[in-house]
Amino acid sequence: MATDRCKDFLGRLDSWIAGERPAEAKAHFRDCASCQAVVEDLNAIQIEARSWRQLESEAPERVWTALRAQLEQEGLIRAEQPEREAAPVASSLADWLSAVFARIPRPALAGAYLSILVALGFALSGPVNQPSNEAKWLEGTRVVSSPISAQLDNFEQNTSLANRDRNPAITASLHQNLAIVDNYISLCEKSVQEEPENEVARDYLYSAYKQKADLLAQIGERGENVQ
Protein backbone atom coordinates (compact mmCIF):
# COMPACT_ATOMS: atom_id res chain seq x y z
CA MET A 1 0.00 0.00 0.00
CA ALA A 2 2.83 2.37 0.84
CA THR A 3 4.29 1.55 -2.55
CA ASP A 4 1.03 2.47 -4.31
CA ARG A 5 0.95 5.80 -2.51
CA CYS A 6 4.59 6.39 -3.42
CA LYS A 7 3.77 5.59 -7.04
CA ASP A 8 0.88 7.99 -6.93
CA PHE A 9 2.99 10.72 -5.33
CA LEU A 10 5.89 10.26 -7.70
CA GLY A 11 3.51 10.19 -10.64
CA ARG A 12 2.52 13.76 -9.75
CA LEU A 13 5.99 14.84 -8.80
CA ASP A 14 6.32 17.53 -11.44
CA SER A 15 3.30 19.31 -9.98
CA TRP A 16 4.78 19.00 -6.49
CA ILE A 17 8.06 20.48 -7.65
CA ALA A 18 6.13 23.23 -9.40
CA GLY A 19 4.62 24.12 -6.02
CA GLU A 20 1.27 22.37 -5.95
CA ARG A 21 0.61 20.86 -2.50
CA PRO A 22 -2.60 18.86 -2.38
CA ALA A 23 -3.44 17.70 1.13
CA GLU A 24 -3.06 14.00 0.41
CA ALA A 25 0.35 14.52 -1.19
CA LYS A 26 1.49 16.67 1.75
CA ALA A 27 0.45 13.98 4.18
CA HIS A 28 2.33 11.27 2.30
CA PHE A 29 5.43 13.40 1.87
CA ARG A 30 5.53 14.10 5.60
CA ASP A 31 5.55 10.39 6.37
CA CYS A 32 7.62 8.89 3.56
CA ALA A 33 11.40 9.19 3.81
CA SER A 34 11.85 7.56 0.45
CA CYS A 35 9.77 10.15 -1.39
CA GLN A 36 11.45 12.88 0.60
CA ALA A 37 14.77 11.58 -0.68
CA VAL A 38 13.54 11.67 -4.25
CA VAL A 39 12.26 15.23 -3.94
CA GLU A 40 15.47 16.36 -2.31
CA ASP A 41 17.52 14.76 -5.07
CA LEU A 42 15.47 16.34 -7.83
CA ASN A 43 15.71 19.74 -6.17
CA ALA A 44 19.47 19.34 -5.99
CA ILE A 45 19.61 18.48 -9.68
CA GLN A 46 17.47 21.46 -10.56
CA ILE A 47 19.57 23.85 -8.50
CA GLU A 48 22.77 22.65 -10.11
CA ALA A 49 21.25 22.80 -13.60
CA ARG A 50 20.01 26.36 -13.05
CA SER A 51 23.47 27.47 -12.05
CA TRP A 52 24.68 26.53 -15.51
CA ARG A 53 22.78 29.49 -16.90
CA GLN A 54 25.39 31.79 -15.44
CA LEU A 55 28.03 29.90 -17.35
CA GLU A 56 26.44 30.54 -20.74
CA SER A 57 28.91 32.11 -23.09
CA GLU A 58 28.81 33.46 -26.60
CA ALA A 59 29.91 31.32 -29.47
CA PRO A 60 33.49 32.05 -30.58
CA GLU A 61 33.81 34.76 -33.20
CA ARG A 62 34.92 32.22 -35.79
CA VAL A 63 31.34 30.88 -35.85
CA TRP A 64 30.05 34.23 -37.09
CA THR A 65 32.92 34.56 -39.53
CA ALA A 66 32.19 31.16 -41.07
CA LEU A 67 28.44 31.79 -41.03
CA ARG A 68 28.77 35.12 -42.74
CA ALA A 69 30.97 33.62 -45.43
CA GLN A 70 28.38 30.92 -46.05
CA LEU A 71 25.54 33.45 -46.20
CA GLU A 72 27.45 35.53 -48.75
CA GLN A 73 28.24 32.48 -50.80
CA GLU A 74 24.57 31.54 -50.90
CA GLY A 75 23.63 35.07 -51.80
CA LEU A 76 21.48 35.49 -48.70
CA ILE A 77 23.41 38.56 -47.69
CA ARG A 78 23.51 41.51 -49.99
CA ALA A 79 26.69 43.54 -49.87
CA GLU A 80 25.86 46.94 -48.43
CA GLN A 81 25.07 49.36 -51.21
CA PRO A 82 24.70 53.11 -51.14
CA GLU A 83 21.08 54.13 -50.97
CA ARG A 84 19.68 54.74 -54.35
CA GLU A 85 16.78 56.93 -55.27
CA ALA A 86 14.58 54.62 -57.19
CA ALA A 87 10.98 55.00 -58.10
CA PRO A 88 8.65 53.26 -55.66
CA VAL A 89 7.60 50.77 -58.32
CA ALA A 90 11.20 49.79 -59.03
CA SER A 91 12.24 49.44 -55.40
CA SER A 92 9.21 47.38 -54.44
CA LEU A 93 9.76 45.11 -57.44
CA ALA A 94 13.42 44.63 -56.55
CA ASP A 95 12.55 44.00 -52.91
CA TRP A 96 9.94 41.46 -53.88
CA LEU A 97 12.38 39.79 -56.22
CA SER A 98 15.02 39.62 -53.48
CA ALA A 99 12.51 38.09 -51.09
CA VAL A 100 11.47 35.50 -53.67
CA PHE A 101 15.04 34.50 -54.38
CA ALA A 102 15.98 34.41 -50.74
CA ARG A 103 13.59 31.48 -50.42
CA ILE A 104 15.03 29.46 -53.26
CA PRO A 105 17.87 27.10 -52.30
CA ARG A 106 20.71 27.85 -54.63
CA PRO A 107 24.06 26.50 -55.61
CA ALA A 108 27.16 28.60 -55.13
CA LEU A 109 26.92 30.04 -58.62
CA ALA A 110 23.47 31.41 -58.13
CA GLY A 111 24.67 34.00 -55.65
CA ALA A 112 25.06 36.33 -58.58
CA TYR A 113 21.55 35.70 -59.95
CA LEU A 114 20.05 37.79 -57.22
CA SER A 115 22.12 40.86 -57.93
CA ILE A 116 21.58 40.43 -61.67
CA LEU A 117 17.86 40.20 -61.32
CA VAL A 118 17.65 43.02 -58.80
CA ALA A 119 19.43 45.22 -61.32
CA LEU A 120 17.09 43.99 -64.00
CA GLY A 121 14.11 44.68 -61.80
CA PHE A 122 15.23 48.27 -61.40
CA ALA A 123 15.97 48.68 -65.05
CA LEU A 124 12.85 47.15 -66.48
CA SER A 125 10.30 48.56 -64.07
CA GLY A 126 11.11 52.21 -64.46
CA PRO A 127 8.92 55.07 -63.37
CA VAL A 128 5.55 54.65 -64.95
CA ASN A 129 4.51 58.22 -65.20
CA GLN A 130 7.51 59.68 -67.00
CA PRO A 131 6.91 61.06 -70.46
CA SER A 132 7.69 58.42 -73.02
CA ASN A 133 11.04 58.44 -74.68
CA GLU A 134 11.38 55.38 -76.81
CA ALA A 135 15.07 55.71 -77.57
CA LYS A 136 15.86 56.20 -73.90
CA TRP A 137 13.89 53.12 -72.89
CA LEU A 138 15.38 51.04 -75.64
CA GLU A 139 18.89 52.07 -74.77
CA GLY A 140 18.23 51.56 -71.08
CA THR A 141 16.86 48.08 -71.64
CA ARG A 142 19.69 47.12 -73.99
CA VAL A 143 22.34 48.36 -71.59
CA VAL A 144 20.92 46.28 -68.79
CA SER A 145 19.72 43.16 -70.56
CA SER A 146 22.73 42.44 -72.79
CA PRO A 147 25.22 41.87 -70.00
CA ILE A 148 22.53 40.06 -68.01
CA SER A 149 21.88 37.75 -70.89
CA ALA A 150 25.60 37.13 -71.31
CA GLN A 151 26.05 36.43 -67.63
CA LEU A 152 23.15 33.99 -67.54
CA ASP A 153 24.60 32.22 -70.58
CA ASN A 154 27.94 32.04 -68.83
CA PHE A 155 26.36 30.57 -65.70
CA GLU A 156 24.48 28.13 -67.87
CA GLN A 157 27.73 26.82 -69.29
CA ASN A 158 29.41 26.54 -65.91
CA THR A 159 26.36 24.93 -64.36
CA SER A 160 26.03 22.32 -67.07
CA LEU A 161 29.67 21.37 -66.77
CA ALA A 162 29.44 21.13 -63.01
CA ASN A 163 26.29 19.06 -63.06
CA ARG A 164 26.62 15.47 -62.00
CA ASP A 165 24.29 13.50 -64.16
CA ARG A 166 22.16 11.60 -61.69
CA ASN A 167 19.19 11.10 -63.90
CA PRO A 168 19.82 11.87 -67.58
CA ALA A 169 16.11 11.99 -68.40
CA ILE A 170 15.46 14.67 -65.80
CA THR A 171 18.56 16.59 -66.77
CA ALA A 172 17.51 16.42 -70.41
CA SER A 173 14.06 17.72 -69.48
CA LEU A 174 15.60 20.62 -67.59
CA HIS A 175 17.84 21.53 -70.50
CA GLN A 176 14.98 21.23 -72.95
CA ASN A 177 12.92 23.61 -70.86
CA LEU A 178 15.92 25.89 -70.62
CA ALA A 179 16.03 26.05 -74.41
CA ILE A 180 12.33 26.95 -74.45
CA VAL A 181 12.88 29.74 -71.96
CA ASP A 182 15.86 31.00 -73.99
CA ASN A 183 13.57 31.16 -76.96
CA TYR A 184 11.04 33.19 -75.02
CA ILE A 185 13.74 35.52 -73.83
CA SER A 186 14.78 36.27 -77.39
CA LEU A 187 11.13 36.77 -78.45
CA CYS A 188 10.51 39.09 -75.52
CA GLU A 189 13.74 41.01 -76.14
CA LYS A 190 12.70 41.50 -79.74
CA SER A 191 9.29 42.69 -78.63
CA VAL A 192 10.79 45.14 -76.19
CA GLN A 193 13.10 46.46 -78.89
CA GLU A 194 10.16 46.98 -81.21
CA GLU A 195 8.03 48.63 -78.54
CA PRO A 196 10.30 49.88 -75.81
CA GLU A 197 7.52 51.41 -73.76
CA ASN A 198 5.43 48.29 -73.81
CA GLU A 199 5.20 47.46 -70.11
CA VAL A 200 3.60 44.09 -70.76
CA ALA A 201 6.52 43.04 -72.95
CA ARG A 202 9.01 44.27 -70.36
CA ASP A 203 7.12 42.34 -67.69
CA TYR A 204 7.28 39.17 -69.78
CA LEU A 205 11.01 39.65 -70.42
CA TYR A 206 11.63 40.05 -66.72
CA SER A 207 9.57 36.92 -65.96
CA ALA A 208 11.54 34.99 -68.56
CA TYR A 209 14.87 35.97 -67.01
CA LYS A 210 13.56 34.93 -63.62
CA GLN A 211 12.45 31.58 -64.98
CA LYS A 212 15.87 31.05 -66.51
CA ALA A 213 17.64 31.84 -63.26
CA ASP A 214 15.28 29.47 -61.45
CA LEU A 215 15.96 26.68 -63.89
CA LEU A 216 19.71 27.19 -63.78
CA ALA A 217 19.56 27.06 -59.99
CA GLN A 218 17.66 23.77 -60.21
CA ILE A 219 20.12 22.33 -62.70
CA GLY A 220 23.03 23.40 -60.54
CA GLU A 221 21.48 21.79 -57.49
CA ARG A 222 21.11 18.40 -59.13
CA GLY A 223 24.63 17.45 -58.34
CA GLU A 224 24.43 18.78 -54.76
CA ASN A 225 21.37 16.75 -53.85
CA VAL A 226 23.20 13.44 -53.86
CA GLN A 227 22.29 11.53 -50.70
Binding site: R166, N167, V181, Y184, V200, A208, Q211, L215, V226
Partner: protein, 301 residues
Protein backbone atom coordinates in the same frame (compact mmCIF):
# COMPACT_ATOMS: atom_id res chain seq x y z
CA UNK B 1 0.64 -10.23 -45.38
CA UNK B 2 0.93 -11.36 -48.99
CA UNK B 3 3.74 -13.55 -50.26
CA UNK B 4 6.85 -11.69 -51.28
CA UNK B 5 6.19 -8.57 -49.20
CA UNK B 6 7.84 -7.62 -45.97
CA UNK B 7 5.88 -5.32 -43.72
CA UNK B 8 7.85 -3.61 -41.00
CA UNK B 9 6.28 -1.36 -38.46
CA UNK B 10 9.21 0.37 -36.85
CA UNK B 11 7.55 1.42 -33.68
CA UNK B 12 6.26 -2.06 -32.95
CA UNK B 13 9.16 -4.13 -34.21
CA UNK B 14 11.21 -4.11 -31.02
CA UNK B 15 8.29 -5.17 -28.87
CA UNK B 16 7.39 -7.82 -31.38
CA UNK B 17 10.89 -9.25 -31.37
CA UNK B 18 11.00 -9.45 -27.59
CA UNK B 19 7.72 -11.32 -27.43
CA UNK B 20 8.63 -13.68 -30.21
CA UNK B 21 11.93 -14.63 -28.66
CA UNK B 22 10.08 -15.74 -25.54
CA UNK B 23 7.49 -17.83 -27.27
CA UNK B 24 7.36 -20.67 -29.69
CA UNK B 25 6.75 -18.04 -32.39
CA UNK B 26 10.49 -17.23 -32.26
CA UNK B 27 10.88 -19.04 -35.54
CA UNK B 28 8.56 -16.52 -37.20
CA UNK B 29 11.25 -13.85 -36.98
CA UNK B 30 13.89 -15.63 -38.97
CA UNK B 31 11.01 -16.77 -41.17
CA UNK B 32 10.09 -13.17 -41.93
CA UNK B 33 13.69 -12.26 -42.62
CA UNK B 34 14.11 -15.29 -44.85
CA UNK B 35 11.01 -14.27 -46.72
CA UNK B 36 12.53 -10.94 -47.61
CA UNK B 37 15.87 -12.47 -48.57
CA UNK B 38 14.50 -14.93 -51.08
CA UNK B 39 11.62 -12.79 -52.35
CA UNK B 40 11.96 -11.60 -55.90
CA UNK B 41 9.20 -9.00 -55.53
CA UNK B 42 9.49 -5.37 -54.46
CA UNK B 43 10.01 -4.65 -50.82
CA UNK B 44 7.22 -2.84 -49.07
CA UNK B 45 7.94 -0.96 -45.86
CA UNK B 46 5.21 0.33 -43.63
CA UNK B 47 5.80 2.76 -40.80
CA UNK B 48 3.49 4.55 -38.45
CA UNK B 49 4.09 7.79 -36.60
CA UNK B 50 1.81 9.23 -33.96
CA UNK B 51 1.39 12.97 -34.38
CA UNK B 52 -0.46 15.85 -32.83
CA UNK B 53 -2.54 18.48 -34.62
CA UNK B 54 -1.11 20.14 -37.75
CA UNK B 55 1.81 17.80 -38.36
CA UNK B 56 4.35 18.57 -41.06
CA UNK B 57 5.22 15.86 -43.52
CA UNK B 58 8.08 16.28 -45.99
CA UNK B 59 8.85 13.92 -48.84
CA UNK B 60 12.01 14.07 -50.95
CA UNK B 61 11.96 11.53 -53.74
CA UNK B 62 13.77 11.47 -57.08
CA UNK B 63 11.09 9.58 -58.96
CA UNK B 64 7.97 7.61 -58.27
CA UNK B 65 4.25 7.64 -57.67
CA UNK B 66 3.33 9.47 -54.51
CA UNK B 67 -0.23 9.22 -53.25
CA UNK B 68 -1.26 11.12 -50.14
CA UNK B 69 -4.68 10.74 -48.59
CA UNK B 70 -6.24 12.12 -45.47
CA UNK B 71 -7.67 9.96 -42.75
CA UNK B 72 -9.15 10.52 -39.32
CA UNK B 73 -6.33 9.05 -37.23
CA UNK B 74 -3.77 11.19 -35.40
CA UNK B 75 -1.12 9.23 -37.17
CA UNK B 76 1.00 9.29 -40.29
CA UNK B 77 1.34 6.02 -42.15
CA UNK B 78 4.11 5.76 -44.71
CA UNK B 79 4.10 2.80 -47.08
CA UNK B 80 7.17 2.95 -49.28
CA UNK B 81 8.06 0.68 -52.15
CA UNK B 82 11.63 1.27 -53.36
CA UNK B 83 12.31 0.04 -56.86
CA UNK B 84 15.42 -1.83 -55.84
CA UNK B 85 17.75 -2.67 -52.99
CA UNK B 86 20.07 0.05 -54.22
CA UNK B 87 17.93 2.72 -52.57
CA UNK B 88 16.48 3.03 -49.14
CA UNK B 89 13.70 5.14 -47.74
CA UNK B 90 14.52 6.91 -44.54
CA UNK B 91 11.55 8.05 -42.47
CA UNK B 92 12.31 10.08 -39.37
CA UNK B 93 10.09 11.76 -36.87
CA UNK B 94 11.09 14.90 -35.04
CA UNK B 95 8.33 15.97 -32.70
CA UNK B 96 5.37 16.71 -34.88
CA UNK B 97 7.29 16.50 -38.12
CA UNK B 98 7.87 13.43 -40.27
CA UNK B 99 10.60 13.54 -42.93
CA UNK B 100 10.62 10.91 -45.66
CA UNK B 101 13.68 10.78 -47.91
CA UNK B 102 14.74 8.36 -50.60
CA UNK B 103 18.49 7.82 -50.61
CA UNK B 104 20.90 6.01 -52.86
CA UNK B 105 23.00 3.48 -51.02
CA UNK B 106 25.95 4.02 -53.32
CA UNK B 107 27.17 6.54 -55.88
CA UNK B 108 26.69 4.14 -58.75
CA UNK B 109 22.93 3.68 -58.54
CA UNK B 110 21.35 3.74 -61.96
CA UNK B 111 18.49 6.20 -62.65
CA UNK B 112 16.08 3.33 -63.18
CA UNK B 113 16.79 2.08 -59.67
CA UNK B 114 16.56 5.51 -58.09
CA UNK B 115 12.81 5.29 -57.64
CA UNK B 116 10.32 4.68 -54.92
CA UNK B 117 6.55 4.73 -54.77
CA UNK B 118 4.67 5.90 -51.74
CA UNK B 119 1.25 5.60 -50.20
CA UNK B 120 0.95 8.00 -47.33
CA UNK B 121 -2.00 8.61 -45.03
CA UNK B 122 -1.98 11.78 -43.01
CA UNK B 123 -4.33 13.66 -40.71
CA UNK B 124 -6.54 16.04 -42.59
CA UNK B 125 -4.84 19.17 -41.25
CA UNK B 126 -1.33 18.05 -42.17
CA UNK B 127 1.05 20.43 -43.91
CA UNK B 128 2.81 18.80 -46.85
CA UNK B 129 6.11 19.57 -48.54
CA UNK B 130 6.77 17.29 -51.49
CA UNK B 131 9.71 17.17 -53.89
CA UNK B 132 9.38 14.56 -56.58
CA UNK B 133 11.26 14.99 -59.84
CA UNK B 134 9.37 12.53 -61.98
CA UNK B 135 6.38 10.27 -61.71
CA UNK B 136 3.29 11.75 -60.15
CA UNK B 137 1.99 13.35 -57.01
CA UNK B 138 -1.64 12.84 -56.02
CA UNK B 139 -3.11 14.41 -52.91
CA UNK B 140 -6.70 14.23 -51.77
CA UNK B 141 -8.73 15.65 -48.90
CA UNK B 142 -5.80 17.28 -47.12
CA UNK B 143 -6.63 20.73 -45.83
CA UNK B 144 -3.26 21.94 -44.57
CA UNK B 145 -0.83 24.13 -46.51
CA UNK B 146 1.06 22.41 -49.27
CA UNK B 147 4.22 22.99 -51.25
CA UNK B 148 4.87 20.68 -54.18
CA UNK B 149 7.88 20.91 -56.49
CA UNK B 150 8.53 18.63 -59.42
CA UNK B 151 10.42 18.61 -62.66
CA UNK B 152 8.41 16.25 -64.81
CA UNK B 153 5.97 14.74 -62.36
CA UNK B 154 2.32 15.59 -62.79
CA UNK B 155 0.49 16.96 -59.78
CA UNK B 156 -3.10 16.08 -59.06
CA UNK B 157 -4.94 17.67 -56.15
CA UNK B 158 -8.46 16.89 -55.18
CA UNK B 159 -10.59 18.46 -52.42
CA UNK B 160 -7.57 20.09 -50.83
CA UNK B 161 -7.40 23.38 -49.06
CA UNK B 162 -4.89 25.72 -47.44
CA UNK B 163 -2.12 27.68 -49.09
CA UNK B 164 -1.16 25.54 -52.09
CA UNK B 165 2.09 26.31 -53.89
CA UNK B 166 2.93 24.11 -56.83
CA UNK B 167 5.97 24.48 -59.02
CA UNK B 168 6.79 22.21 -61.94
CA UNK B 169 9.12 22.48 -64.88
CA UNK B 170 7.28 20.28 -67.33
CA UNK B 171 4.78 18.47 -65.14
CA UNK B 172 1.06 19.06 -65.57
CA UNK B 173 -1.19 20.28 -62.79
CA UNK B 174 -4.80 19.43 -62.12
CA UNK B 175 -6.81 20.80 -59.25
CA UNK B 176 -10.33 19.62 -58.57
CA UNK B 177 -12.59 21.32 -56.02
CA UNK B 178 -9.60 22.85 -54.26
CA UNK B 179 -10.13 25.65 -51.78
CA UNK B 180 -7.75 28.01 -50.04
CA UNK B 181 -5.16 29.89 -52.02
CA UNK B 182 -3.52 28.44 -55.11
CA UNK B 183 -0.26 29.48 -56.71
CA UNK B 184 1.04 27.32 -59.53
CA UNK B 185 3.86 27.92 -61.97
CA UNK B 186 5.46 25.87 -64.70
CA UNK B 187 7.42 26.22 -67.90
CA UNK B 188 5.82 23.70 -70.19
CA UNK B 189 3.23 22.13 -67.94
CA UNK B 190 -0.49 22.60 -68.58
CA UNK B 191 -3.04 23.32 -65.91
CA UNK B 192 -6.63 22.26 -65.37
CA UNK B 193 -8.49 24.11 -62.65
CA UNK B 194 -11.89 22.54 -62.20
CA UNK B 195 -14.73 23.58 -59.87
CA UNK B 196 -12.40 25.45 -57.58
CA UNK B 197 -13.61 26.73 -54.24
CA UNK B 198 -10.66 29.05 -53.96
CA UNK B 199 -10.85 32.83 -54.01
CA UNK B 200 -7.16 33.38 -54.76
CA UNK B 201 -5.72 31.73 -57.83
CA UNK B 202 -2.46 32.64 -59.50
CA UNK B 203 -1.36 30.39 -62.36
CA UNK B 204 1.53 30.97 -64.73
CA UNK B 205 2.96 28.70 -67.37
CA UNK B 206 5.12 29.47 -70.37
CA UNK B 207 4.05 27.17 -73.15
CA UNK B 208 1.37 25.16 -71.39
CA UNK B 209 -2.39 25.58 -71.66
CA UNK B 210 -4.58 26.74 -68.84
CA UNK B 211 -8.16 25.62 -68.48
CA UNK B 212 -10.37 27.15 -65.83
CA UNK B 213 -13.78 25.54 -65.62
CA UNK B 214 -15.71 26.56 -62.58
CA UNK B 215 -17.31 29.41 -60.77
CA UNK B 216 -15.54 32.69 -60.14
CA UNK B 217 -16.39 33.19 -56.48
CA UNK B 218 -17.42 36.61 -55.19
CA UNK B 219 -14.43 38.69 -54.04
CA UNK B 220 -12.09 36.17 -55.64
CA UNK B 221 -8.98 37.13 -57.60
CA UNK B 222 -7.98 34.93 -60.51
CA UNK B 223 -4.81 35.58 -62.48
CA UNK B 224 -3.98 33.23 -65.35
CA UNK B 225 -0.92 33.90 -67.47
CA UNK B 226 1.08 32.18 -70.17
CA UNK B 227 3.45 33.02 -72.98
CA UNK B 228 1.96 30.85 -75.68
CA UNK B 229 -0.67 28.17 -75.77
CA UNK B 230 -4.31 28.54 -74.87
CA UNK B 231 -5.94 30.10 -71.87
CA UNK B 232 -9.54 29.01 -71.69
CA UNK B 233 -12.06 30.05 -69.07
CA UNK B 234 -15.63 28.80 -69.02
CA UNK B 235 -18.21 30.88 -67.30
CA UNK B 236 -21.86 30.37 -66.45
CA UNK B 237 -24.68 32.98 -66.57
CA UNK B 238 -24.73 33.20 -62.76
CA UNK B 239 -21.08 34.24 -62.53
CA UNK B 240 -20.14 37.77 -61.63
CA UNK B 241 -16.72 39.07 -62.57
CA UNK B 242 -14.64 41.97 -63.71
CA UNK B 243 -12.49 40.75 -66.58
CA UNK B 244 -9.33 41.90 -68.26
CA UNK B 245 -7.93 39.75 -71.03
CA UNK B 246 -4.81 40.73 -72.97
CA UNK B 247 -2.83 38.86 -75.58
CA UNK B 248 0.14 40.78 -76.88
CA UNK B 249 0.54 38.94 -80.16
CA UNK B 250 -2.33 36.44 -80.12
CA UNK B 251 -6.14 36.50 -80.15
CA UNK B 252 -8.83 37.03 -77.58
CA UNK B 253 -12.13 35.26 -78.26
CA UNK B 254 -15.00 36.22 -76.05
CA UNK B 255 -18.55 34.90 -75.60
CA UNK B 256 -19.33 36.88 -72.46
CA UNK B 257 -21.47 40.01 -72.79
CA UNK B 258 -19.30 42.43 -70.89
CA UNK B 259 -20.24 45.90 -69.87
CA UNK B 260 -17.30 48.18 -70.71
CA UNK B 261 -15.28 48.80 -67.62
CA UNK B 262 -15.57 52.08 -65.75
CA UNK B 263 -13.02 51.19 -63.05
CA UNK B 264 -10.27 53.74 -62.60
CA UNK B 265 -7.40 51.31 -62.49
CA UNK B 266 -8.14 49.87 -65.89
CA UNK B 267 -6.46 51.45 -68.83
CA UNK B 268 -6.57 50.52 -72.47
CA UNK B 269 -3.24 49.09 -73.53
CA UNK B 270 -1.70 50.41 -76.67
CA UNK B 271 -0.35 47.01 -77.63
CA UNK B 272 -1.92 43.68 -78.46
CA UNK B 273 -5.50 42.52 -78.30
CA UNK B 274 -7.34 43.24 -75.14
CA UNK B 275 -10.73 43.50 -73.65
CA UNK B 276 -11.97 44.80 -70.35
CA UNK B 277 -15.43 44.63 -68.95
CA UNK B 278 -17.81 43.62 -66.27
CA UNK B 279 -20.10 40.60 -66.26
CA UNK B 280 -23.14 40.94 -64.03
CA UNK B 281 -22.05 42.79 -60.85
CA UNK B 282 -18.30 42.28 -61.27
CA UNK B 283 -17.80 40.64 -57.87
CA UNK B 284 -14.72 38.61 -58.79
CA UNK B 285 -11.60 39.90 -60.51
CA UNK B 286 -10.23 37.91 -63.43
CA UNK B 287 -7.00 38.72 -65.29
CA UNK B 288 -5.98 36.71 -68.31
CA UNK B 289 -2.67 37.49 -69.98
CA UNK B 290 -0.82 35.84 -72.81
CA UNK B 291 2.20 36.85 -74.84
CA UNK B 292 1.29 35.28 -78.13
CA UNK B 293 -1.23 32.64 -77.17
CA UNK B 294 -4.99 32.55 -77.57
CA UNK B 295 -7.44 33.50 -74.87
CA UNK B 296 -10.90 31.95 -75.04
CA UNK B 297 -13.70 33.13 -72.79
CA UNK B 298 -16.46 30.62 -73.38
CA UNK B 299 -19.87 29.78 -71.98
CA UNK B 300 -19.95 26.65 -69.88
CA UNK B 301 -22.15 23.90 -71.27
Amino acid sequence: MSTGYLVLTRSKLKRQLKKQLKTAGALAVPGLLLCSAVSAGPIRHEEHFKVAAHPIITIHNPEGLITVKAWTKAEVMVISMPASNAVEVDSEQMGNRVDVTTRALSDSVSPSDMKADFQINVPEDAELQIHNDAGSVTVSNVTGDMNVETVAAGVDLEDTSGYLTVKTVGGSFQCLRCAGRIEVSSITGSFKLIDLKSTRVWAQTSSGNILFNGQFLPNGTYSLKNYSGIIEVRFSPADSFDMSATSLKGKVNNEAKLTPSTHEHHFMPRWGNALFGTFNQGRAKVELTSFDGTINILKRD
